[in-house]
Symmetry: C2
Subunit: 245 residues, 2 copies
Amino acid sequence: MAAWGAEAPPRPGPRPRLSIGDLAKAGVALADELGLEAVTMAKVADRVGFTPMSLYRYVGSKDELIQLMFDEMGRDLGVSAERAHGWRDGLESLAHALADRYTEHPWAVDVPIAGVPTMPSQVAVMEYGLELLVPEGLEPGEALGVLQLVAGFVRSHSALVRDITRAATPGAALSPFSAASSRLADLVDPAVMPRVAEAARLGLLSPPAPDSAAADEELDDLRFGLDRILDGVEVFIERRHTGQV
Amino acid sequence: MAAWGAEAPPRPGPRPRLSIGDLAKAGVALADELGLEAVTMAKVADRVGFTPMSLYRYVGSKDELIQLMFDEMGRDLGVSAERAHGWRDGLESLAHALADRYTEHPWAVDVPIAGVPTMPSQVAVMEYGLELLVPEGLEPGEALGVLQLVAGFVRSHSALVRDITRAATPGAALSPFSAASSRLADLVDPAVMPRVAEAARLGLLSPPAPDSAAADEELDDLRFGLDRILDGVEVFIERRHTGQV
DNA sequence: TCTATCTGTGTATACCATACTCAATAACTG
DNA sequence: CAGTTATTGAGTATGGTATACACAGATAGA
């Protein structure tokens, strides 16, 4: 796979003027500025000073380019198992590092998950997680399951945060569906769905006011879910240590 | 919002020959047969015996149609809080019902998450979850957090299962990336990533052989993640009951 | 120097979402 | 019952999209 950067032996013909990484970086920059839907072969080509069709010398399809962009944005998370104070601290660092990346690159939550993780940055996360969890007695398969749990939660949480942020940002194009969330209290029949109606009344289903506390709330939500997951993992590790499972 | 089916008062002009639900159902059927990328306005129109442009009398955009399809596929999960034996059993039933739906409609994991859940089927899930968890002492916001955890996990797990299944199915169009997973063992340098290399050697990163045990493995993985989450929630509920939090 | 091979370009195609216009339709008004 | 008017579904058109294909120039090895 190209993303793993096998070194090319000397060949006849002109040397490529780009690398796959250049292409991925250009795509990331474009998506950062204008969103994922703005990433077209033509615009990426323009950004690197190429014609659209030349990109196909580097990637087999646009989908492949998108996957490379996702890998690019997940590189070098700055976590290391040696520096972590135990598995729990390590997983928390990972979760926050991932969440930060999603915040920096909001489009990344729109990139479809393409099968079992095989891109370098994802594999690096796997190695990290295995280093944290296998010494605690987890089987590799179990450790990967925990990792999937954490990474998946951060992703879905980040997606929610992004959409809420977008809906609460005046001037942003809000879909007809996010627009409806503020009216959800009117749509839900309290007789049929009393608890949702109450939650809507409490404002839990509307975008929060864009005050300074919004970021804190998002962080709280991340922590809440993460704490539940890690509590569950802790229970499992305890049981494994005491031979109950 | 149209999906909530406000009844139309008598109006001049021809009566609409379709309903939004018809359109959503047609889209679902199409996606079931040919995948989400096959869902185009033209093909859906063809299926209901309309011209492409007529669909815009019912939906504002293709994205809106896709959201309606997602709502359609999540309707009537067949769970009820009254029938559940406690919150944990109730959440397990929900998770399995959702997983079954994703299995029946694999394209659903490709539907982008559009903000805070506001579609009827999603709101029904919310009501269900609140009924299960609020009596245990959780705040509505906490209960929604737990629900997001469960639903998000089932979704990401289902995505993985679908991609693995697709990769293991001979004849299916497998992306260059899923194709690479079988070669991951060759790509990873054991000196740099010893634990991933070992996991690859154990076959944990390759699609499983398409034997009869595959379905069981998938179910095991679902159970594993779900058990961790619910263990974590259980710890939280215990603490709440004993006033620790 | 010759040759095989690779790069980036130019051109062309098929598909797609969707804007705009219009004739036919059917409820409401008198 | 006749006229008015809003609405439906069809027809036509447009701009953007990914990508197939063929070619001219460039370059490393013989």
